[in-house]
């Protein structure tokens, strides 16, 4: 069964460079948790800290409530699946999977039984005596999963293990990983730069920028209520409008921009006079039916690309503000030509103001 993992003020410094800085997160037992961030944000470092390949410069890591400082990765209740899988090329599939048991001195008969169980779990019938380099990419992936699960880890650490697979196989393995996690109850800590992977598989996602944990929340909260500019711009696509706050109304604020003034959610409770950025998802921008409602913009269509289920319309206001709109192909949308003038609107519920600063990724 899974155990919980607690990171308390964890920092990792290499010389002057902080690969991770004051990370605080409590990953629950049996949770599927993902660290999502661009390459070089320090997520691999976090994984290596949890697995015990190195100890943090500052802070504490607890697994199952026990402080892990000084405990090597061969003793920690964790197992890791490496990005390149790191299968042992000179061994058969069986010996790869049974390696962890062999070095722990598990007798041969017992080992064989466990290996057979795992081969069944990851669907690798009939490959037991093959060498690992005779397998397909997907099969190798399964060997790596089985090998890690063989030692009954409380926490399974996965370092972008799907990145080498093709698209179809990747989505298939995603479902399978989720399935294996549910069946085994092991805590999964998954790191990836692929937001779809993180959002589809995880119970919770921690979004990381350079060395910093920006937000920890469920996938829908990450997408719908990002707390920082970084999260908003890294996860999903967004329209970005900048301006100054001219008035506050409870949880809402009015932002004055060159293209007009807009009502928006103000989750960070910024004050009047501050400069801020509005984030609006393309799928929450609609054609305006009542021209005098709030948050209406007059735009010219620049480009229209029809993608079947929806169309992506690129718009520009008179002042040069760019907007993207995603129109669902539900039969009610009038035909729009490129170069046409149209009015679009967005609801104040779907537009949120965030503080400028940090490192937005556009």
């Amino acid at each position: 069964m899974g155990q919980d993992v607690e990171l308390l003020d964890v920092s990792m410094r290499f010389g002057e460079f902080y690969a991770a800085r004051n990370i605080n997160v409590h990953i629950q037992a049996g949770e599927f948790f993902s660290f999502l961030g661009p390459s070089g944000c320090g997520k691999t470092t976090l994984l290596r800290l949890i697995s015990g390949f190195m100890d943090p410069s500052e802070g504490q890591i607890k697994i199952g409530g026990k402080d892990m400082r000084g405990i090597g990765s061969n003793i920690r209740p964790t197992a890791m699946i490496f990005q390149n899988l790191a299968l042992f090329p000179l061994m058969t599939v069986e010996n790869n999977i049974g390696f962890g048991l062999e070095v722990r001195g598990v007798p041969k008969a017992k080992r064989k039984k466990k290996v057979e169980e795992l081969i069944e779990l990851v669907d690798l019938y009939g490959t037991g005596d093959r060498m690992v380099n005779e397998l397909s990419g997907g099969q190798m992936q399964r060997v790596a999963i089985a090998r890690a699960l063989a030692v009954n880890p409380a926490v399974l650490l996965l370092d972008e293990p799907l990145s080498a697979l093709d698209l179809r196989l990747r989505s298939q393995m995603r479902a399978e990983l989720r399935n294996i996690q549910r069946r085994t109850g092991v805590t999964f800590i998954y790191i990836t730069h692929d937001q779809t992977e993180a959002l589809t598989m995880s119970d919770r996602v921690g979004v990381m920028s350079i060395g910093k944990l920006e937000q920890v929340a469920t996938p829908d909260v990450i997408y719908n209520n990002p707390e920082t500019i970084f999260v908003a711009s890294f996860v999903g696509e967004s329209n970005i409008i900048q301006g100054d706050i001219i008035s506050i109304d409870g949880d809402y604020a009015v932002l004055k921009t060159t293209s007009g003034s807009f009502f928006c959610k103000n989750p960070q409770h910024m004050g009047q006079g501050e400069t801020a950025t509005i984030f609006i998802r393309p799928e929450t921008v609609f054609l305006a039916k009542e021209p005098n409602a709030d948050n209406v913009l007059t735009c010219r269509t620049k480009n229209l690309s029809f993608e079947g289920a929806y169309a992506v319309v690129t718009l520009t206001t008179e002042q040069g503000q760019l907007l993207t709109m995603r129109l669902n192909n539900d039969g009610t949308v009038p035909r729009i030509e490129e170069g046409e003038n149209i009015k679009v609107r967005f609801s104040r519920e779907n537009a949120f103001l965030l503080k400028n600063g940090g490192t937005p990724i556009a």
Partner: protein, 281 residues
């Protein structure tokens, strides 16, 4: 076009004939002499076919003791040089330290040092300063100085291709450092270790100049042959050479036979080993 092609073929053919003649004629002459009943090692005059030089060789106690010494020295050199080479290779491929290039230079410098100097300095150091008289021991130490560098280079070339995450994976799965080394690292390096053992053995077995100066009054086979050739020329030395040629050919055939059988087992199509990297234009 056709005529220039055939001229080209003639030139290539002539080149190959000359090349193989240059390589093999001395060996062929030497072999024939070993069977000539002439006491002076010459092809002519042919005094009849004989095996007596082989008999004489077999009766030569000095030769047998030199051969025995050669084996002792060669096996000892293997036992010393391969572990040292392995240690050096692991050190240089894993650790990133400032003095790495300097250490590398020091470790390969014995290869660049003339063998005579290695021999003399080994002998002087042990014999004059450490009061350990020159003999097989000093020959072993002298040879190991540069043979371990060869072993290191050979092992390094494979160690560089090792994926270190395999060790991390093994460690992560619960292996101790010792288990990681014996079950993961060493099996990967095995082919390089075997070839460095063979290389060390052969380098030691036919080493002349370092040994000559380090060994004092003892003799290994090359030293024995050298002494023999200088003092008294006998076709028995040709007989010895023939024995070695036969052993080498048997060894090469056995190796090739094994290689082909293993490749058939692995289902690989047999291709001849290219003597040199093939250039593709």
């Amino acid at each position: 076009m056709k005529s220039s092609n055939s001229i080209f073929r003639i030139i290539i053919g002539a080149y190959l004939v000359l090349f193989f003649a240059y390589m093999f004629l001395p060996l062929i002459f030497m072999t024939i002499i070993a069977f000539n009943a002439n006491e002076i090692p010459q092809i002519t005059p042919w005094k009849g076919f004989t095996l007596m030089w082989f008999g004489e060789l077999a009766k030569d106690d000095q030769m047998w003791s030199a051969l025995w010494n050669s084996f002792i020295v060669a096996f000892s050199v293997v036992a010393i040089s391969v572990p040292i080479g392995l240690g050096g290779a692991l050190l240089l491929t894993r650790l990133q330290f400032k003095a790495r290039n300097f250490v590398y230079g020091v470790l390969v410098s014995p290869i660049l040092t003339p063998g005579i100097i290695l021999g003399i300095s080994t002998f002087l150091f042990w014999d004059s300063y450490m009061n350990i008289p020159g003999g097989l021991w000093t020959a072993i130490l002298g040879q190991s100085t540069f043979i371990s560098s060869y072993c290191m280079l050979l092992i390094m070339s494979r160690a560089q291709r090792f994926d270190l995450t395999q060790e991390e994976a093994a460690f992560d799965l619960g292996a101790t450092h010792r288990q990681v080394f014996w079950k993961i690292t060493l099996p990967f390096l095995r082919p390089a270790l075997i070839s460095s053992m063979a290389l060390a053995f052969m380098q030691s077995f036919d080493n002349y100049n370092t040994t000559l100066f380090a060994i004092g009054v003892e003799q290994t086979l090359p030293i024995y042959i050298g002494t023999k050739l200088r003092s008294f020329i006998s076709p028995a030395m040709n007989a010895l050479a023939v024995v070695f040629i036969i052993l080498t050919v048997i060894g090469a055939i056995a190796y090739e036979y094994r290689r082909r059988r293993e490749m058939i087992k692995a289902g690989v199509k047999i291709t001849p080993v290219p003597a040199a990297p093939v250039l593709r234009m």
